[in-house]
Symmetry: none
Subunit: 224 residues, 4 copies
């Protein structure tokens, strides 16, 4: 039965010259989305090492052969998933890390940055699984590094904007620490629900506020 193409994927579409050969690809895109969704679900349940490609295929409702038509191996699935999450982040919450937030007072900035980040993680729990990735083999780490690094860079930028004069290595340490703080707090946030989760969100913001305030707050950029 002839399928109609391109139902959903690839939100940033700038079809320059090619949208002819896409016809055939449409189904493929959907398959990939299916598979990545299944992978996210399985990774969340069992971690990367514990996930079997057969289990992912089954969860996606396809045969193992089909999975391997789109991903050359298990690693590529994780990489593909992190790519997708990164892109999803960029298009849906990405502006949270945008430069304009730099000028807000620290507490407002933390709200502006953390709330979308937390929301994103709540919506995409696989993100956290891949980030922590304590058992993922080499190449994935790098790819994860991209994702990790993207956030890291943003954090560093934010710091640099407010504290332009500091030494680079200290700035890097602060960025790293800030990111780790966030990941730690996020774990706690994810581990609770409802009011308790809210309380942990507040607590996380408190941690970060107190940590960053002496550096960024005061008369800093957003000060006055």
């Amino acid at each position: 039965m002839p399928e109609n193409q391109q139902t959903e994927e690839s939100p940033t579409r700038r079809e320059r010259t090619e949208d002819r050969p896409r016809r055939r690809q449409a189904r493929g895109e959907r398959r990939i989305a299916q598979l990545l969704e299944a992978a996210a679900s399985v990774f969340c349940r069992t971690g990367y090492t514990g996930a079997s490609t057969n289990a992912i295929a089954r969860e996606a409702g396809v045969s193992p052969g089909t999975l391997y038509q789109f991903f050359p191996n298990k690693e590529a699935i994780a990489v593909g998933l992190s790519d997708q999450l990164l892109e999803h982040w960029a298009t849906s919450h990405g502006q949270a890390l945008a430069a304009e937030n730099t000028s807000l007072p620290l507490d407002r900035m933390l709200d502006a940055v953390l709330d979308p980040l937390i929301a994103f993680n709540v919506e995409n729990p696989a993100f956290g699984v891949l980030m922590h990735a304590p058992d993922t083999p080499g190449r994935i780490i790098e790819e994860i590094g991209t994702l990790h690094g993207a956030i890291l860079t943003r954090v560093e930028d934010l710091i640099a904007a407010r504290l332009p004069g500091g030494p680079a290595d200290q700035r890097e340490r602060t960025a790293n620490m800030t990111l780790m703080l966030f990941k730690a707090g996020l774990t706690l946030v994810m581990a609770h629900e409802g009011a308790e989760r809210q309380a942990y969100i507040t607590e996380l913001k408190t941690v970060m506020y107190r940590y960053l305030e002496p550096l960024l707050g005061e008369d800093g950029a957003g000060g006055h």
Copy 2:
């Protein structure tokens, strides 16, 4: 001291004056130590799920059968390892979390508590691996929980000693957050060496000082 753990025998046991249970314990005890050391090493490299019992046996220089003479299954190895680490901690650094530290000024207290904790983790990197344990099966979590819980309790005690009037749930959240902060910072510490590691240790203490100071500092113990 006579220890009998998992294996099986010793059906009729009435220890008058002797230690029948385990006669040939010398070699066995050494093997167990060897195996746990090997397990620590392999777990660090590959995580729990990724570790194969054959790899652990090989690392320990024994046959798979020998491993299974001392541990009934893979889980038991991790449990045994966490037990050993817990005991090792208790005997060698345990006093770090002791009550007397409660009366120190916050910054001194952080030194007193964190330095041994960090030192222990540096010496026993498997500790961190088991703690994070994102993919470990049920029973280990509980055992790890013991370990985790032991620290958590200490942290809560410390907080309660300084802040006796606060609501219990907030205190619990603070304890949890403190522990997570530590784990997060520790990751960074472990990921670096030499001067950089020192810098991260300082940074971690800064984070914790700033987080806890408003709650515990002031006039409390250390006024500042």
Copy 3:
């Protein structure tokens, strides 16, 4: 009671001149008895193939090494057990198959023969397990054959005594069938308890009576 030596194999026993050095052997005899008892128990639970020598040693309360000091391998344990059972039978119930029963009326003879046989089996359930031995490797079959054959021979003798004129091959078939009938009925007997067991014993005797009566019953040997 003077013990006969026979440390392990040597199915063909010809005690020349030695029975002095037996003093030291006493403990060994007890060990062997212990081990065979344990083996009987384990074989009953799991069958020969399913039984592990370690399990037998454990059941006997000794170490695997000790077991192998008395039996060169697993097969030898089964062989030793069947030897022991055979001997036990010979000394305690053996007269059941004795020649004098030959002259009894068939129903009385069946009582005289079957009751001890059943009693023996009830007391030594391992006997049945080894007899059926559906999964026992080659050599055991032969040894079992001895045991099996011993009974078979008796049965044949009984038949021959009553039916001296028949063709040998038919007599052999009748003996085989009689034995199999008994084993079949015994299974049913063993599978029940109390009154039901009694009923099956009666039923078994009925079977055998009806089968053998035309051959052996009536007045003298050759009925009709």
Copy 4:
């Protein structure tokens, strides 16, 4: 009507327009047959406990992985085999136990019932192995019970038809005994060949005739 047996799909394909469930069944079905045949052969040689799944796979000329694509574990192979045998019996010899035989004179009835049963066992020696199944784990016993029970029920029916007035428990005992007699005789039949086998078949019928004749024969249903 659509039948699905153990795997899950339907080998007999006559559904209107869709055959989604299992497309690539041809090869698979053949493999299953191959594997069951191999399993029958190996079970006959070594019994259930002694059979290794690798040996079965090897006998079938496939890799272990392939075996596990069709059977989740060793038990399932035995269950699948008994299912297949049961079905094979039902379709090829099943009418032997049909009700109409009830009205034949006992000797004719025994021929009508036993000959197909014996023929079936000769053709499918694994049947006997599974039936005796002295070492098979729990679930198989149940499945075997089905098989066993199917025959038992038939036997009971036959007896009930001829002897409607008897007490139920005695009828059950007679059925059990009859079945056991058959199994015992069958062992003898299977253990011989040619003329000797024929002689044992006759002997078996004699046993059963003499056992059942007083109950069923005479003026019984089909008597005279």
